[in-house]
Structures are given as C-alpha cells and as structure tokens.
C-alpha cells in the first residue's frame, strides 16, 4: 500500500494546531487535526488516515477510531464530491425542510444517505445547525445556504456542478 502523508502545507498547520495545547496534552489537537485530514484526503477518514493522525499525535489508533466515530462531521466512508447536508429539526421543518429534502431527492435522483452515480453529490439530513431564524437551510462544506426555496436549491446544485470542486469544511 502506498504510504500516505500530509502535504507540507497541511503538516505546517497540523504542527501549529498541536502547539495550542500544553506540553503532553497533544491529544487535544485530535478533533481539529481530523478536520484537516478529512479535507486533505478526499473528504473522508480511512483507517490509514486515522493511523497517520494517531502516529503524529503519539496516541493509540483506537483512540482515534473512538473519537472519529463519535462525531457526526467525520465521514468514515467515502462521500460524493459535494456533501449536501439538509437540516431537518423542528424549526427547519416548520419552515419547509421536508420540501427541500424531497426536491433534492428528486433532482439528484437519490435518497437521503446515497451518492449520485457520477460520485458528484451525497445527500444527508442533519440535526439543528443553528440556522432556525433563516430556515430552511443546508450546509455544503463550510458554507451555509439559508432561507432556501426550491429555486435556490436548483441554482445551488447547478453552481456546485459547474464549479466541480470538492466540498470541505476547511474552506
């Protein structure tokens, strides 16, 4: 298997993050570094990537697996190029999130939790993202798309398709 490693730029960031925490407490850097890793390695955390993070932080691999599987933002399976996360909790539901989800399912021709055949989009429903006053909303990468209508969703999907860039929380 090919050895995986961080780019120089990411490695510099990783080392900067580790320095935020006291001597011997480098495990604290785990969550932020997993974000860096996910952004660098195709939007998901493979066991090999998690082992790499474990070795950098000098912790046991199981400590990384335990953490990565606890938090909902880490993908433990490959995802499409653009991960579309639609909020569906009470306040968003009140303002029509069900319609947004249905519209996206029809438009992308996939169900929630699936990825389009071309690997371009993965559709996911998520719980409250703190956009209740601008509901309904979805998140793609770090960006919030709020006060959604089906027209806005159409435009967004076209934009994402033509930009053809991987969504990432780090941008």
């Amino acid at each position: 298997m090919e050895e995986i490693k961080f780019s120089e730029k990411s490695l510099a960031l990783v080392n900067k993050i580790i320095k935020r925490y006291p001597e011997g407490r480098q495990k604290s850097a785990l969550l932020p570094i997993l974000h860096v890793a996910q952004a660098e390695f195709d939007g998901w955390l493979s066991p090999a990537v998690m082992d790499l993070v474990a070795s950098i932080l000098k912790i046991k691999p199981i400590e990384v697996y335990e953490v990565a599987s606890f938090y909902s933002m880490y993908n433990l399976e490959p995802v499409g190029k653009c991960l579309i996360e639609v909020c569906q909790t009470g306040p968003c539901w009140l303002r029509g999130s069900d319609d947004i989800v249905e519209h996206l399912q029809n438009k992308l021709n996939i169900k929630v939790g699936e990825t389009t055949a071309d690997g371009m989009f993965t559709l996911k429903t998520v719980e409250c993202l703190g956009s209740c006053g601008t509901a309904p909303m979805l998140q793609c990468g770090a960006k919030f798309h709020e006060n959604l209508t089906t027209e806005k969703v159409d435009a967004l999907v076209e934009d994402l398709r033509s930009a053809n860039a991987r969504s990432s929380y780090m941008r």
Binding site: P47, I62, Y65, E66, S69, F70, Y71
Partner: protein, 335 residues
Amino acid sequence: MAKVTIDGVEVEVADGTTILNAARQIGGDLVPPAMCYYSTLKDSGGKCRVCLVKVTAGSAKDPRPMPKLVASCRTPVMDGMVVQNITSPEVLEARKGVVEFLLLNHPLDCPVCDQAGECDLQNLAYEHGAAKTRYEEDRRTFEKIDIGDKIKLHMTRCILCYRCTYVADQLTPERVHGVLGRGDHSEISTYIAKAVDNDYSGNMIDVCPVGALTDKTFRFKSRVWFTNPMDAHRDCPKCSGKVVLWMKGEEVLRVSARKDQYGEVKEYICNECRYDHKNVKDWTVEGPRHIDRHSVIAQGHYERADLITLKKEIERQIEFEKGKPLPEPNPSLTA
C-alpha cells in the same frame, strides 16, 4: 471516618468510601446492584444507573436531601449521611425503569447464551424486572465476531458497561478495542478487524456482566450449572495462579479467575492459566468453590427455604405492588 445510615442501618466507614461500598460493608439485601462499577477497575461506574439511591440527608453539616437520585457507586459518603435504597419506592421504581432500559435491546437469547446461569443481567431482571416487555419495535442487532482467537463478541448482548475497555487500559500493554459510534449505535469493536492479543486479554471475559464476551474454548461445552467449580492454583510467573476450574468429571471445561460475592475478580489471571492448562494434573485442587451469589450456579445445593418465611416474603412483595410502603424485609431470608 464517616457515619452513614443506609436503609436504617448505621455503619462507620473510612472517608471517601462510596455509598455502594459502605452498603457492601453492611451486606445483605440493602446492597445496591451494580452492572458497570467494578471495584478493581479504576474509573468504572456511574453509567448503568442500576445502583441509584436516594440521599435523604446529605451530611450532618448540611442535612438537606440531594435533589436527584445518585449513583451510589460513585458518590462518596459524608458523615451523617442518610441513604435509602430498598426502603425507597422511588428508588425501586427508578431501578425497575433502568432494568427495562437495559433489556430493551438485549436479545433475551438466554437459552443459547453461555452466560446464562451466571449472568448479572439475568439475575437483575429476575429481581427487578417486569415479566412483560412494553417494547414493540425491532431490537438493535450486530453480527457476532471474534476478537482474538479465544474471545467471542456478541455485541447484541452488550450493555456498554465499559468494563472490558478498562481491563484493556489497566491490565494489558495496549488497548486495541474500544467503544465506537454514539448513542444506541455505540459498540465495542476494534474497528479494523484486529485481534485482541495479549497475556491478560482473557480477563475481559470475567468482567463482562453479560454474555457479550465469552470464552471460545468453553462455548457450548456445557451449561454452567452442570459443571463443578473447584478452587485450584498453580505456580505462575505471570499472575497469582489462583483460579476456578469448571469441571465435568475429570475434564476441565473452563478456567476462570475467582469472583467474590459481588461478581468481582480481585486477583486477575493470565491467559496461559486460563487457556493452556486444561488438564487437572497441572493444578493443585483446593476443594469445591463456594458460590456466594444467589444464582443458578449456586444450585446443586439449592438452599432450602422455610415455607412460612417464603410465604411472608411473597405477601410482603404483594403489599408493595399494591403501592403500600415496603415493610422491613424478613431477616431470616436475608441472612
């Protein structure tokens, strides 16, 4: 030292003792059950909530009651503290609730489970559970897997006590398994099919309160109540060498560490003792193991109950079911 009163019985214990351990010093029925706490595993406890008790007076200095039920296994006593366990209907009601929660997704495959007869959940359900489930949804299931060549993991049966992870952290050189996922999807796993392979991994089996981790070398060999437990020892360079041999005739079916009346191992054993010496000639047999816990394996010698006492105990339970406060337990039954 601190004086604490539990269900009307006073006991003096060292400062810092937990309510649960104070109750164990008194002994008998008023000892709260424990599914996750394990006295020889640091940081264990607080999770399963079956040991919840009511503190009606916090201390002599501040006699206010505590606002919520507390986990007796992790709450230290204070001088002058007053605690109710089985004398509090509120505690018994909460405990019944917790037992129901623990059984919700538990498979109830006791007839084919190797732990049956020595299962803490089975005993707990017998004492505190309801006869019928109110849960009509599908139960959560997992595939059963091998973790290492000697241990079978039935995740479906796991109650997430975390004891096995503490064993791995505290007794073995490196923990390779842990709790993955979140909420009711949490599972014990190595994540990447990795073997748990070290000299003390077998202790994970002994600390497991249910049949989630079982000894593959004993699987389906015998119901545990058909075996003869014998205390035995050998000179072992790695561990105390003090074990229980679970025998059928001259055959050693299983070797385990010795558990006390609360199901706890005080002296852990190594895998060599556990798996590699299934010949009775390897051991100095001390004599029959006395099983203190009242469970199926204490049988062979079912303690003979006085029928009049038993009738009174049943009446006492019926009164309680009617919503009346629980009268004093019959001392001859708890002795």
